[in-house]
């Protein structure tokens, strides 16, 4: 059956994981802006996202988009204590690396680098994967993030003990869990509703 879905014959996929800026193209038609109701506009949270094909596609199901975005924003941007932003982004990057989402990994590895100043360590995670060399704190974090990303989940008490030894308190542990868990959600949407491509100059 033909469904007249968008196609991208000139697609240029990136060769692998990168901190460079990438683009993403949807496999289903986004909701046209003229069909947006107040519920759809509210669901975007940030109205500028109507021009973004990912959010305009997700706007087809507005209630879950609204709740998804508010969950996402608080997990990554809440500022009262807990895990530093750079290490929440490391959780997002590790989940994306393990699940294989090149687009998500590009965005969140950049955020991890910007917030930590540790471009080489972040790049090693992309290049060599979760087994690449890291100093003890990031080692303990990446091991826990990977265990939580596995299906079935393999996270155990020893992972949290190792993180406590690195100075994480209960709230930081909860933040580590939430940031990595959220990217299970994000990776699967990005990987299954469209495709990543090299960003071309406008």
């Amino acid at each position: 059956m033909s469904h007249s879905l968008p196609t991208y014959p000139d697609l240029e996929p990136p060769r692998g994981f990168t901190q460079e800026t990438l683009a993403w193209a949807p496999w289903l038609p986004p909701l046209p802006e003229e069909e947006f109701t107040p519920l759809h506009w509210e669901a975007l949270v940030d109205k500028g996202r109507a021009k973004n094909p990912y959010f305009a596609l997700l706007a087809r199901a507005p209630e879950i988009l609204r709740e998804r975005t508010k969950t996402d924003n608080d997990i990554f941007y809440s500022t009262e204590g807990g895990l530093p932003r750079a290490e929440r982004e490391l959780g997002a990057t590790t989940a994306s690396r393990v699940n294989g989402c090149v687009f998500c990994a590009s965005v969140h590895s950049r955020f991890a680098t910007q917030n930590s100043g540790r471009r080489d360590d972040v790049q090693r995670l992309l290049d060599e994967g979760v087994k690449g060399q890291q100093e003890p704190r990031w080692r303990a974090l990446i091991d826990a993030f990977e265990a939580l990303t596995s299906t079935p989940v393999r996270l155990e008490a020893r992972h949290l003990e190792a993180l406590r030894e690195q100075g994480l308190d209960d709230l930081a542990l909860a933040d580590a869990i939430h940031s990595t868990a959220f990217f299970q959600w994000a990776n699967r949407l990005m990987l299954s509703l469209g495709q990543v491509q090299v960003s071309k100059p406008a």
Binding site: M1, L5, P13, P14, R15, G16, L28, P29, L39, L58, R60, A61, E63, I64, L65, R66, E67, R68, K70, T71, D74, I75, S78, G81, G82, V98, N99, G100, C101, V102, G129, L148, T149, S150, T151, P152, V153, L155, A157, H159, L160, E161, D170, L171, A174, A176, I177, H178, T180, A181, F182, Q184, W185, N187, R188, L189, L191, S192, L193, Q195
Partner: protein, 198 residues
């Protein structure tokens, strides 16, 4: 208001240490619950029935190995009158259980050597007859998203459209499966955290 689902899945009681930790991130707590409500008690249900949502959810959490969540979503399925699907769903779960993530990237040259193979599950003809083409296609897609999302392609979305899912239904189904992979990890992580505080 229904009880907080993550509290239910973890066994968190009011005033307990993990309850107090969750309440230090009230926006996350509220919208994790809000996400569940948006999927299971939406203002606009559309054509993706609650019975179908619970059936997909039971399959996702059970193949992922979360027995506590399995009990929760099985009760939901029965509550929506989906008991006639339960036996076939259990057989699908038995055949679909594995360990992930795995899979091969179709488009990234430098990752070719890193790709791995694993179960590429499809509902059998026998179970397809019991569950219907529409639900069976959703289970095939859910298994793809849970275990090998890197292999997802536009053809997989066309398969769903062919099986009677609208474009909006496909988005909601994708959100449902993806949300569940989040929910069961928050639950699993908080269970380990809870034990570590005792």
């Amino acid at each position: 208001m229904p009880a907080d689902v993550l509290d239910t899945l973890v066994g968190i009681t009011e005033g307990s240490p993990v309850d107090l930790i969750r309440r230090r991130r009230p926006v996350t707590r509220d919208h994790a619950q809000g996400s569940w409500l948006a999927l299971f008690a939406p203002e606009v249900l559309g054509t993706f029935l609650l019975k179908e949502r619970y059936a997909v959810s039971l399959f996702v959490v059970a193949v992922s190995g979360d027995s506590l969540a399995e009990g929760f979503y099985r009760a939901g399925l029965l509550g929506e009158g989906g008991g006639d699907w339960a036996g076939a769903l259990d057989q699908a779960v038995e055949a679909g259980r594995t360990q992930g993530p795995y899979g091969r990237w179709a488009h990234h040259a430098d990752l070719a050597a890193e790709g791995t193979d694993g179960l590429r599950y499809r509902v059998t003809a026998d179970l397809r007859a019991k569950l219907g083409v529409r639900l069976a296609a959703a289970l095939d897609h859910a298994h793809l998203l849970v275990f090998r999302p890197r292999e997802a392609s536009q053809a997989d979305l066309e398969t769903l459209l062919d099986a009677g899912w609208s474009a909006t239904d496909v988005v909601t189904l994708s959100q449902l499966v993806a949300f569940l992979t989040f929910q069961l990890r928050v639950a699993a992580g908080l269970r380990v955290l809870k034990e570590s505080i005792r």
